[in-house]
Subunit: 116 residues, 2 copies
Amino acid sequence: MSAHRDVLLRDVMDRIGDKWSVTVICRLDDGPLRFNALKRAADGITQRMLSVTLRRLERDGLLTRTVHATVPPQVEYALTDRGHSLHRILAELVAWTEDNLDDIRRCRERYDAAVP
Amino acid sequence: MSAHRDVLLRDVMDRIGDKWSVTVICRLDDGPLRFNALKRAADGITQRMLSVTLRRLERDGLLTRTVHATVPPQVEYALTDRGHSLHRILAELVAWTEDNLDDIRRCRERYDAAVP
């Protein structure tokens, strides 16, 4: 793999592994959502961080942004086929993390107690 | 899921999705490596970033650090069983990313051309 491709691969991996990207992709897997519904579903995200996350995912072709000509206009976000295919793997990663969360917490406590 | 657990889940997801964590876990899946061999295998990583990444993964119980009493002492890193189980999912994520890399690059070029 070329050095440039290697950098691009790491960049994309970093992007899709980002906690807010994972959260947004998981929330949208069940169906399209509007901005405010997404904000409520991604508990703890700021308006700005959600905007940035949505723009990055749209730029990578993982979701689409549709503006409905209502008053006021409504903006809806939906996963693309590529986004759904990524979700299948991310869901495994989330399941693994949930399964291992208690053990990881115990490991951290032991480590922090042993290392000054 | 409690709010605290949700925060911990996102924190762990962020950690294991980090590009250098993924790189280190993939390199160690074939067998233990010493620090310098890991540094060569994780092309582009700085000494400090590799140290930080290894410490975090050790703290999460994903790898072990063994000091061999040679002169000079040699430090070897190896995945734990938990680390290997995470690798199986990360390998799917890397494969997905490689399969989609060209499409994502084209999407980004289109997006950047359309959005001023």
